[in-house]
């Protein structure tokens, strides 16, 4: 519908060699100390018995959900989703409540636990390198990946490419593109030869986890108004009823004690 391209990543776990060049590239590009990396490589380690060994690893960073939970949870609206995909965090609005970290089912946002008030403790997470994609470059992690385990492009194209790859090598892949529907769709798509849970990915339905929370929030204002009205009517009713009773039994001394 829209002419704006939806940027996305495609990660292929069968191609990843666990070299972690993406982590270095990301830290250099975005000027982040290595211990605060925005990318983690989760590895399952070796599996199997000697000659038939197998291993898998997964490059893990912000999934840039189509319908982000962090954005829904943030009380001060520090998160925005750009129409072309990236979810951007604005440190100037953040109050440091860390609710986004609870909300994100992937555990992506990270906090500066070692910074005091003066330095300022903020959330950090992958930004999809907007400074690069705005000038037509791929994000740093993708550009540096030596095995093309990470690819970048338009979301619809990448989904098609992923399915084509599964069809070409059905014996190599699990027949599922993680992120196509998970959590309402993510901009980080994953192909794998081992179960996705082994890569550290949560099992999530096609509805974003924020769904129930947002629905309930939608009832807040109507409920508040309705409840105020009910309580006012009850209070007025009780008051009138008591007045009537008091008049009736005005001769009696202690109306309070009667029950």
């Amino acid at each position: 519908m829209s002419e704006i391209k939806q940027h996305a990543f495609l990660f292929d776990a069968t191609r990843c060699i666990d070299c972690r060049a993406c982590m270095v590239a990301c830290s250099v590009e975005n000027n982040i100390p290595m211990d605060k990396t925005r990318i983690w490589v989760a590895g399952v380690g070796l599996k199997g018995i000697f000659p038939n060994l197998d291993s898998a690893s997964m490059v893990y960073h912000c999934m840039h959900c189509e319908d982000p939970d962090c954005l829904s949870a943030c009380p001060v609206g520090a998160y925005t989703k750009r129409p072309d995909g990236p979810i951007i965090y604005d440190p100037d609005k953040c109050i440091g409540c860390r609710y986004c970290m609870n909300a994100c089912p992937f555990g992506v946002p990270h906090f500066d636990y070692d910074k005091g008030l003066i330095e300022g403790a903020f959330i950090d997470k992958c930004t999809m390198c907007p400074q690069r994609i705005d000038v037509g470059l791929e994000p740093a992690c993708v550009a540096t990946c030596p095995t093309d385990a990470l690819e970048f492009g338009e979301r619809a194209d990448l989904i098609a490419r992923a399915h084509a790859r599964i069809q070409a090598h059905p014996e190599r892949y699990i027949d599922h593109v993680y992120g196509e529907t998970e959590n309402g769709g993510t901009s980080y798509l994953i192909l794998s030869h081992v179960p996705f849970t082994e890569l550290g990915l949560p099992e999530i339905g096609s509805l974003p986890v924020k769904e129930v929370s947002e629905t309930v929030m939608g009832y807040t204002i109507p409920f508040a108004l309705g409840w105020s009205a009910v309580l006012s009517v009850v209070a007025a009713g009780v008051h009138l009823y008591n007045q009537k009773n008091e008049k009736k039994s005005s001769t009696e001394v202690t109306p309070e004690e009667s029950k």
């Binding site: 983690w40 609206g77 953040c94 440091g96 609710y99 909300a103 003066i118 990915l201 929030m217 209070a235």
Partner: protein, 395 residues
């Protein structure tokens, strides 16, 4: 009946005050260190456990035990059961101080406490936390207004007190509405974590469960706080009133249990009751202490009429309900841990609160007790003067 009103000649001021001041001072030092070097060095909070002891105790428990104020306000002003009037002022004071404690502790927990007012200017309407923030701020104002007549009476400005009293009703209703909203929203706060909170606790009706349990907690708190202050501030105990409040507790708890188990049946989550290892044990322990035991306890008339038994029942109820808040906001939540390179999502990340972390909460709590003591001493918080009290035995 032996009343436990053996009146001490004097509130042992120096010792208690010194202990409380010491705890406050330690908390203050810890808070300053936290502001200087960050949350990490003084606590065990991490990227895997962004919320821990402070949120479970200060926010979840603090708000829950503040519910006495709105429960009593509703009973006295909306349902005009004026006989409960003597309980209102101390309950409102407890609520007011409790909510101040919540806000103060959040100022330690927040990464940018100096920006807390951003909640009023950059609002994101889908955020449950925003609703809680705004409700707590507004309700604190309402409680201040509700309590202000006592202060005015204390400084001999009866006219002002009367003026506030004239317009108290809208504030009472606003207070009850705000309380309903944020007591239930504390449950909604966890709705966004269906993949992390254990299914025994996660349900779309968490807000309703939270509200119903807040009613029981409110009654329990009124019993606790009235009984304790009657002992320490040499004043009579309105045991006949408390007995009546106690009578309502089994009803509320029965509703609570029906909601809780009804939801499990409806969501066909019953099998988790026995198959989830530690989680099942936590759940049953919580149900037993928070609901089943208090429900039986408060159903027995003889126990309700004995002030000591009434107090014990309230303490059991409160411990159980606080355990529920801890379960929901901490024990039953499993956090992802991508940074340790352990592939299994929801791996075995550990979080053990540190001593300084707990010291902050304890210090803030000490300040609350001290403030209550000061207010009880110097303001007309308690209607009845000691000589008027006739500890009534039954009706």
């Amino acid at each position: 009946m032996k009343m436990s009103l053996t009146i001490q000649p004097r509130f042992r001021l120096p010792l208690i005050v010194w202990i409380l001041l010491g705890l406050m001072g330690f908390a203050f030092v810890v808070a300053m260190v936290r502001y200087a070097v960050g949350i990490g060095p003084i606590s065990d909070l991490s990227n895997s456990y962004p919320w821990g002891f402070w949120i479970s105790l200060d926010l979840f428990t603090g708000v829950a035990i503040g519910s006495g104020a709105f429960v009593i306000a509703a009973i006295v002003y909306i349902f005009e059961l004026k006989e409960f009037q003597p309980l209102a002022k101390p309950a409102v004071l407890t609520g007011f101080l409790g909510y101040i404690m919540v806000v103060v502790s959040l100022l330690v927990d927040l990464g940018h406490p100096e920006r807390i007012y951003y909640m009023l200017i950059h609002t994101n309407h889908t955020s449950v936390l925003l609703e809680i923030g705004i409700c707590v701020m507004s309700y604190l104002t309402v409680l201040a207004i509700e309590f202000s007549p006592v202060v005015f009476e204390g400084i001999k400005k009866e006219k002002w007190a009367h003026f506030i009293h004239k317009f108290i009703m809208p504030f009472v209703i606003l207070g009850v509405v705000l309380s309903t909203l944020h007591q239930s929203s504390l449950g909604s706060l966890l709705l966004i974590q269906p993949t992390k909170l254990h299914p025994l606790w996660w349900t779309p009706i968490l807000p309703i469960q939270f509200f119903v349990s807040a009613l029981a907690i409110g009654l329990g708190m009124v019993i606790l706080e009235s009984t304790l202050s009657s002992r320490y501030f040499k004043r009579g105990l309105e045991s006949h009133l408390l007995e009546k409040l106690g009578k309502a507790i089994p009803v509320i708890l029965a509703i609570y249990l029906v909601i809780k188990f009804g939801e499990l049946i409806w969501a066909s989550d019953l099998h988790y009751l026995f198959s989830s290892g530690w989680m099942s044990i936590l759940f049953w322990l919580e149900i037993l202490v928070s609901s089943v035991i208090p429900m039986i306890w408060f159903s027995i008339k003889r126990l309700r009429q004995n002030p000591n038994a009434l107090l014990t029942g309230a303490i059991i109820l409160l411990i159980g309900m606080i355990f529920n808040r801890f379960n929901v906001s901490w024990f039953a939540i499993q956090h992802p841990d991508p940074i340790t390179y352990i592939p299994t999502f929801m791996s075995n990340v550990k979080y053990i609160p540190t001593l300084p972390e707990m010291a902050v909460s304890i210090g803030i709590f000490s300040a609350g007790i001290l403030a209550f003591g000061l207010a009880a001493r110097y303001l007309p918080v308690f209607d009845n003067e000691p000589e008027q009290i006739q500890p009534s035995v039954g009706d």
